[in-house]
Symmetry: D2
Subunit: 85 residues, 4 copies
């Protein structure tokens, strides 16, 4: 992985902490909407991680690829875009 | 929370396990796209949890609310829809 | 429909005008990314319309429903949330 | 644009026809959820167009770019991913 390792690890640990927090909220029988909002917040952190990973991938691995390797890497990106659109 | 507690807890533990797996992938210097795909898989699990929580909320808390309570609960749902649309 | 008719019609006409604009961009052989950005802008307008329609639906039709009608209306909302999450 | 022009134009005309249909539904005072579903269907068509445009762009314009041009084109893709994630 070419992304900023420290930043990515920090964000993933935050997301893991949030999941622990959500498990505790369920234990405490908290309100559905509060739990839903925390799930959404955790997904937002994971999106941030994904952006970091994919931005670095495009700016490094994809940019410095060529020939069949470039073709395959761009087809991987197309597949990700297809899932998101 | 009115959702199936056992199902929700099981899914959240799976998501936490996936984050541990992603942290290990970063440690093992795995390929960016493989890491990105695992992040997406973890987000899909969290979406599944969110659906469980919100479906149960609508079918229980919102359905059995009335007056100002119903008004507030529907405004919470509108806010969630606004973020998603 | 209970949403602000004038606002919704105005937004839909804007979206239709954007589609005409995109068809013209294709005719003019414009750059892929410029076309993609216009498609995204048009989708954003449609999202805005959808928010208007669903917010008004929640604040009127759903709020003033009861019994089996309320149950069905909340199940329609659950279905929409399921598609979005 | 490098995408299949005929397919893209056909889809865009379908989307425009759907918007005309939605305007008629509003005129006919149809049910909010039916209107919302048609808006979602129209957005799905536009997503399909966007996939066509971006897939062809990656497989042609981006693949055959190099140097600063490649750098800029990949940064455009990163920007689109950022909006979607």
């Amino acid at each position: 992985m070419t992304a900023d390792r420290q930043k990515v690890v920090r964000l993933l640990r935050t997301a893991r902490g949030q999941i622990d927090g959500i498990l505790k909220m369920i234990d405490d029988n908290r309100y559905c909407i509060d739990i839903s909002n925390q799930i959404t917040a955790c997904q937002a952190i994971l999106s941030k991680v994904n952006k970091e990973v994919l931005n670095a991938h495009l700016a490094n691995c994809v940019l410095h690829s060529s020939g069949n390797d470039a073709k395959e890497k761009l087809s991987e990106i197309a597949k990700i875009l297809d899932q998101l659109l």
